[in-house]
């Protein structure tokens, strides 16, 4: 703590890191994550990519690895149960409880209800895919399902985040680093429009089977189900093949009409995030490799510790920023909506 007294709301947030595989989980824990979040190898989570995620055996091993070191495991069950298959999602809730995860991250109201009634002792978090941006929505989830934490969509300014925190008993988790999903989390139709599949339905935005990278002599073209999303010149950085980050011709001009391929990075806002009482900071990227998890966890661990030790004299180290910029999509970093002047 610094010499200057901090407000009562001041709190050192937990660092929550992504784990798409056992080596990524170990990398997160070894480099200082307070918790990891992970998912099953199926469409019950929003990163349902071929070969990614955990079967029951590796998940049990991962949970053991984390919990024996005093860290937590949060299970993302953050897609919406599909018609006729509700039993699959309910089974995943039961398995998560049996495995002894520290919390389950849910978006679907029906599943929240099931989890709250069937496993009243389980700790439930409201997923970003639940798209709750107001304290009223969060308090509703608290009253109905006893939700203990909510992950806020990346659409609010810090002042708005503070307003939410002041008006809810639920812990608030915010995104601190990673690729941005354009400001419409949990409600995006772009991927469905192009290929009939989206994060909420099959657990993946722009599923790989619809993606075609095409090397041309002067550029790399990328198409999603035949729709040209972007052409990267040979010296230009590439990004993920999502429609929101494509370049399109609008009124005679070709540009990133929706979102630039950039990553969110809140390091310079850490003292402010602590002052308003954010409970946890989440890193995006379960689809990324252990090397990414290592680099990001290490940089954020140091930054959070430094900011918590001395929030008033916190200085951003260029090394953290360059390490984080290197692994960023588009290798650019932004503060996202947190410091947006408009609302």
């Amino acid at each position: 703590m610094s010499a200057t007294a901090q407000p009562e709301s001041f709190r050192k947030p937990e660092l929550i890191c992504p784990a798409g595989s056992l080596p990524a989980l170990k990398a997160a824990i070894d480099n200082g994550a307070d918790a990891v979040y992970l998912g099953f190898k199926n469409d019950t989570n929003a990163r349902n990519f071929s070969g990614l995620n955990f079967d029951l055996k590796t998940m049990a091993e991962g949970i053991r690895y984390a919990q024996s070191r005093g860290r937590q495991v949060l299970l993302a069950l953050n897609t919406y149960a599909q018609a006729g298959r509700v039993a699959d999602w309910r089974k995943a809730v039961d398995q998560a409880v049996d495995l002894g995860v520290n919390a389950i991250i849910l978006a679907d109201v029906g599943l929240l209800d099931y989890a709250a009634k069937t496993h009243p002792q389980a700790r439930l978090h409201l997923s970003v895919q639940g798209s709750a941006t107001s304290y009223e929505a969060i308090n509703f989830a608290y009253e109905m399902f006893g939700v203990r934490r909510a992950v806020l969509p990346r659409v609010l300014t810090l002042a708005q985040v503070e307003h939410v925190i002041k008006n809810t008993p639920v812990e608030i988790e915010v995104f601190g680093f990673g690729s941005l999903c354009v400001m419409n989390e949990g409600r995006c139709w772009l991927s469905s429009y192009a290929c009939g599949e989206s994060p909420n339905t099959v657990g993946a935005c722009s599923p790989a089977k619809f993606v075609k990278w095409d090397k041309q002599p002067d550029a790399m073209e990328v198409r999603l189900n035949g729709i040209l999303i972007d052409r990267f010149g040979n010296d230009e950085n590439a990004g993920y093949p999502t429609i929101c980050k494509g370049r399109f011709e609008v009124a005679g001009e070709t540009y990133y009409a929706m979102e630039e391929p950039v990553s969110l990075n809140v390091v310079e806002l850490l003292p402010e995030i602590m002052r308003i009482g954010v409970a946890a900071i989440k890193v995006e990227g379960r689809q990324r490799s252990p090397a990414y998890v290592t680099q990001v966890t290490r940089a954020l661990r140091q930054a959070i510790d430094a900011a918590a030790a001395n929030p008033d004299r916190f200085v951003v180290k260029p090394q953290w920023m360059s390490d984080l910029a290197k692994v960023s999509e588009g290798t650019q970093a932004t503060l996202g909506a947190y410091n947006r002047p408009w609302r």
């Binding site: 595989s21 056992l22 599923p207 790989a208 950085n237 990004g239 990324r288």
Partner: protein
């Protein structure tokens, strides 16, 4: 173990020119032997191997001029000769491959920075990438150390801490 960071480098152009003229089978064979060794240790998930069985892959090292084309057939990696286009193709400089193998860099990072080109079946690419990411080096080391001649690997530290700058 002491820290060693693999720098980004490119070998001079003449290396690739000479390399491309040399027979391609020696390094293709060593790559394939390595893959078969890893496969025989049972640390690659059987279901993912079944998914990629019958597909062809090409790994091109730009700055050495080396090209290896291979397939997985009935659970065994085998070389493929001839020019037919593979299902999946990786192209990068040697330093990028070394950084990937040491888990020092993330393939997405190298791909965004255009240091690694992946062409062909995107889903297959993702499957392979995720399969390799999921290999737990501590298990690999334990299995290797049971093989004659690999015992010395046993004393090495964990892969993801090897690259720590501290």
């Amino acid at each position: 173990m002491s820290t060693f960071i693999i720098p980004k480098f490119a070998l001079p152009g003449f290396v690739a020119k000479i390399g491309a003229r040399l027979p391609q089978w020696p390094h293709a064979l060593s790559l394939i032997c390595g893959l078969n060794l890893v496969r025989s240790l049972g640390i690659l998930p059987a279901e993912t191997l079944a998914e990629i069985d019958g597909r062809t892959f090409r790994v091109t090292v730009l700055d050495t001029g080396a090209v290896a084309t291979f397939t997985l057939q009935g659970g065994v990696f085998k070389p493929v000769f001839g020019k037919a286009s593979p299902d999946l193709q990786f192209t990068a400089n040697l330093s990028a491959y070394l950084q990937l193998l040491a888990r020092q860099e993330d393939p997405d990072t190298l791909f965004f920075n255009r240091q690694l080109t992946i062409e062909g079946d995107t889903e297959l690419g993702l499957t392979v990438k995720n399969m390799l990411d999921a290999v737990d080096f501590s298990t690999l080391r334990a299995s290797l150390s049971r093989l004659p001649g690999f015992a010395r690997l046993r004393d090495h530290g964990d892969s993801h801490t090897q690259t720590s700058p501290a």
